[in-house]
């Protein structure tokens, strides 16, 4: 075998063997990875719409998924909204829960973020950030309270708190939520949330 044929044969064989190994590994782990993702979403829905017994996706778009959360009697108890958007450094993925009329946010949870550790990354901290998102009124649109306050009582019902030193991260979270709320409202008005089980 001359050198050129040998080079081609060796590279092809190496490529084929590694491709084969990878497809086996891919098949073996795919199910498990999908399961992990589902579990994460399930846990998040249970957190943002307490009392959820079952759920179904009503709308699935690129950066927005609306889940209908149902209670004991299969009645609609709220929407869990999964949204993605740009943060200060990278994409923030979050989920928040609303009541069925879209009047109020129950609570918020952050699924994925790469904000600055120690500053922007506080958006995942209950004490520093998430607690100020509980029971917010969303009819007039949410606004950011700046400078930050220490207790929830000082906030108006439609205000959320800023993280000192991480205004942009706080603002970005708010932007993602306001934008997705707008989309969800327009979907609801067009009756898109009712169909599709």
């Amino acid at each position: 075998m001359n050198l050129y044929t040998r080079m081609i044969v060796v590279l092809t064989v190496v490529g084929l063997i590694s491709g084969g190994c990878l497809s086996v590994v891919g098949l073996l782990t795919r199910e498990r990875i999908e399961l992990n993702r589902q579990k994460e979403i399930e846990e998040a829905i249970g957190k943002v719409v307490p009392g959820t017994k079952s759920y179904s996706a009503a709308v699935e778009e690129k950066d927005l998924t609306v889940y209908k959360a149902k209670g004991e009697q299969d009645n609609l108890i709220g929407y869990a909204i999964y949204a993605r958007g740009t943060g200060f450094q990278d994409v923030i993925t979050l989920m928040f829960g609303t009541d069925p009329n879209l009047d109020k946010i129950n609570s918020l949870t952050i699924l994925e973020q790469k904000e600055t550790p120690g500053l922007g990354a506080k958006i995942t901290d209950g004490q520093a950030f998430l607690q100020f998102w509980e029971n917010r009124e969303i009819n007039q649109g949410l606004t950011l309270r700046k400078p930050a306050v220490d207790t929830k009582e000082e906030l108006a019902p439609s205000e959320v708190n800023t993280i000192t030193g991480a205004t942009i991260s706080s603002q970005k979270v708010l932007d993602i939520i306001n934008l997705s709320l707008e989309q969800v409202r327009s979907l609801k008005n067009r009756g898109k949330l009712e169909g599709e089980e």
């Binding site: 050198l3 490529g15 590994v25 498990r32 994460e40």
Partner: protein
């Protein structure tokens, strides 16, 4: 150069040829993921897995690979093991996989791995390559462990997530930011050089 014993072959990775402190290889993961001890350990283990298995494969098929396509073949072999490690972590350790983010796929271009294939596995027996890869892996894990312990302790007051330093301690946020990585690595490299110089002086 006289042949090294198997023990020496292993030990050289720990200090004399430590990939991080002496060869300055694999700086990207060293700086990027050592903000918490658990991330450092996970990155160290994933890299070791890739390094040991690629060294084994490369050392066993080195005679079949024509010199002209050796780098391409090594990269394909390394990339295969990296992808296996990445999928495995995503399937069984999702939180760690998330924390390490893009740095697991980036093991492909970690110079320690390609460097060992080129400098050692392609020229030595399977047994020696295995020992060499294990030594280098241990050296890399120890370096990441040291760096991440310092950074987590000073940056968050914790070790492996457990509060170690008391309430009085105000975390130095800079230590978990990229700047803290450079500062810590710089100080450690300086110390390593100092120790090396002291031992050489004593020998002389």
């Amino acid at each position: 150069m006289p042949a090294k014993s198997i023990g020496q072959e292993y030990m050289k990775g720990l200090w004399a040829e430590n990939p991080v402190f002496r060869q300055l290889l694999g700086m990207c993961p060293t700086l990027a993921v050592t903000n918490a001890v658990i991330n450092g350990i996970a990155m160290g283990l994933a890299t070791s897995f890739v390094l040991i298995l690629s060294s084994l494969v490369v050392a066993s098929i080195k005679k079949l690979i024509p010199n002209q396509v050796r780098i391409a073949s090594y990269i394909v072999i390394i990339a295969t093991f990296v992808t296996i490690a990445d999928r495995f972590m995503a399937a069984f350790f999702p939180p760690i996989s998330k924390a390490l983010g893009p740095y697991v796929p980036l093991i492909v271009v970690n110079c320690i791995i390609l460097g060992r294939q080129e400098a050692f596995a392609s020229k030595n027996s399977v047994g020696r390559s295995l020992v060499d890869a294990m030594g280098m892996s241990t050296g890399f894990i120890l370096a990441l462990l040291l760096l991440s312990s310092i950074r987590e302790l000073l940056g968050a007051g914790t070790f492996l997530g457990y509060q170690v330093l008391g309430e009085w301690f105000k975390p130095w946020i800079i230590m978990i930011l990229p700047a803290g990585a450079f500062i810590t690595l710089g100080i450690l490299l300086g110390l390593a050089l100092l120790i090396e110089m002291k031992t050489q002086m004593r020998r002389a």
